[in-house]
């Protein structure tokens, strides 16, 4: 257990907020315990106070390391199961059918981390939708952390990472051994692109997407940042596109113009269209399926909001 004074914790809260709009809640002390030790070793100390002193002095590479350590999240293949099952059975078949004339498909993993989410989709497309192989595919991954984006680009994973939720037949089919590591097949790696992007800062111009995955990111933001990011993401959905959030996240109460649809135990969001309320869209489920979603994502997370 790392001892942290209240003052140091508040400094780290503020520091993280200014750089990433991420709110380090009072209940997140454990994050310091699990994430900071490697950074502490870097400054040759076991005390958070020393780290805070070093940050106050200003050290850009240390700042990046702290932001990376506190924001980089555990990730796994086909994370949470249900959304991917819904993608496989409902969402992707529909998008592939709708786009069969355009022969284009664009998918954005907006908190891509080390790439598992986007590569999972690439594997799913390759295994189940062979027709898209000749399409213009844009599989795009972005993340706040440059370090994880670099790793995502390599497509190289440790055995510990490979163990996380990747079904054995996919491992055998899409990865090769390289020393103690596993490297994703070039045929998949050449189809994805990764770049650094801070969601809360202005975005460079980008296209619209058929599918946007923005999972387990909003929970870290305060409410104004949630609204801003959700509105921008919504505005980059194609007319028949789908948005996936984390299981505890919803746009309800934050931005309008999105309706929930559910499939195979997962919830997706689509652009609201004029006729929605009356007729419902030809989607796979009722648009009124906004049940069982906690109001306001990650209630209790935004505990630093009275600051300043």
């Amino acid at each position: 257990m790392i001892a942290t004074t209240d003052a140091d914790f508040r400094f780290l809260q503020q520091f993280l907020y200014e750089r990433s709009a991420i709110v380090l809640g009072e209940d997140k002390h454990y994050l310091l315990d699990s994430r900071l030790p490697p950074v502490l070793r870097r400054v040759g100390s076991e005390s958070v106070s020393d780290l805070v002193r070093a940050l106050r002095r200003g050290d850009p590479s240390l700042e990046t390391a702290v932001v990376d350590a506190l924001t980089t999240n555990e990730t796994s293949w086909f994370r949470d199961g249900a959304p991917f099952e819904a993608l496989r059975r409902h969402v992707l078949p529909e998008l592939v059918a709708e786009n069969s004339l355009r022969r284009c498909l664009s998918i954005w993993s907006a908190a891509a981390s080390t790439g598992q989410e986007l590569y999972s989709i690439a594997m799913l497309l390759d295994a189940e939708f062979p027709e898209v192989a000749s399409w213009r595919l844009d599989l795009h991954g972005t993340d706040l952390s440059t370090e994880v984006i670099e790793r995502a680009r390599t497509g190289r994973f440790s055995a510990l990472e490979i163990n996380r939720g990747l079904p054995a037949p996919f491992l055998v089919r899409y990865f090769r051994r390289e020393g103690a590591h596993y490297v994703i097949a070039d045929s998949l790696r050449s189809r994805v692109r990764f770049e650094q992007l801070n969601l809360v800062k202005p975005w460079p111009p980008r296209q619209d997407y058929d599918l946007i995955l923005l999972r387990n990111v909003l929970i870290y933001f305060d409410e104004p940042a949630r609204r801003r990011v959700l509105a921008a993401v919504r505005d980059h959905l194609r007319p028949n596109g789908y948005l996936v959030l984390g299981t505890a996240e919803t746009p309800r109460g934050l931005v309008g113009g999105l309706v929930a649809v559910s499939a195979a135990g997962a919830t997706f969001f689509r652009l609201e269209q004029a006729g929605d309320a009356a007729s419902g869209r030809p989607a796979f489920a009722q648009a009124g399926a906004e049940r069982a979603m906690p109001a306001g994502s990650g209630a209790g997370e935004a505990s630093g909001k009275e600051e300043g």
């Binding site: 315990d33 699990s34 030790p37 440790s158 055995a159 510990l160 051994r177 020393g179 103690a180």
Partner: protein, 158 residues
């Protein structure tokens, strides 16, 4: 032939055992720890296209710490046989992962574990006809861990 399995790879494999199985900061870091007063060694043999063995030695104190985590009991409650079992599993996992990098086909033996003093000559593990291919010094919480890769003369290769 040492480049078949680099020092970095051996280090990383050993570190992943610590990372996965030993919670909360008990990391394994490169670099020598102090010589242990009491040492425990485990070994697995690899046979096939590459013949030799992987040996892991560490201080008895560290072995007890690992066993305590794996068995989820206080160190005082550990039986010596538990400590040997835990060291056997470390060397099985480290050796098995090293084996999986070598060109196939190879097979892995069941681990053997021995307690010994700091003098390598005192171990019961036979070393005749083998040569040391790599030696990696690591430490965890100030306690030493050494992984050695021994290569047997083995059957003549081409």
């Amino acid at each position: 032939m040492t480049d078949l399995v680099s020092i970095e790879t051996i280090t990383e494999i050993a570190q992943s055992f610590w990372e996965a199985f030993l919670p909360d900061g008990a990391e394994l870091q490169p670099g020598s720890g102090p010589l242990a007063a009491e040492e425990i060694r485990g070994r697995v043999d690899i046979d096939g296209s590459w013949t030799g063995s992987v040996e892991l030695s560490c201080s008895l104190a560290l072995a007890r710490r690992v066993a305590s985590a794996m068995f989820c009991v206080e160190e005082e409650a550990l039986d010596p046989i538990d400590v040997r079992d835990a060291v056997g599993e470390i060397v099985n996992v480290v050796g098995g992962n090293i084996k999986s990098i070598l060109p196939p086909p190879t097979s892995l033996s069941i681990p053997v574990v021995d307690e010994a003093g700091p003098d390598p000559g005192a171990t019961g593990i036979e070393r005749t006809g083998t040569q040391l291919e790599s030696e990696v010094h690591l430490s965890s919480g100030g306690e030493p861990v050494v992984v050695r890769l021994w290569r047997s003369a083995g059957p003549a290769v081409g």
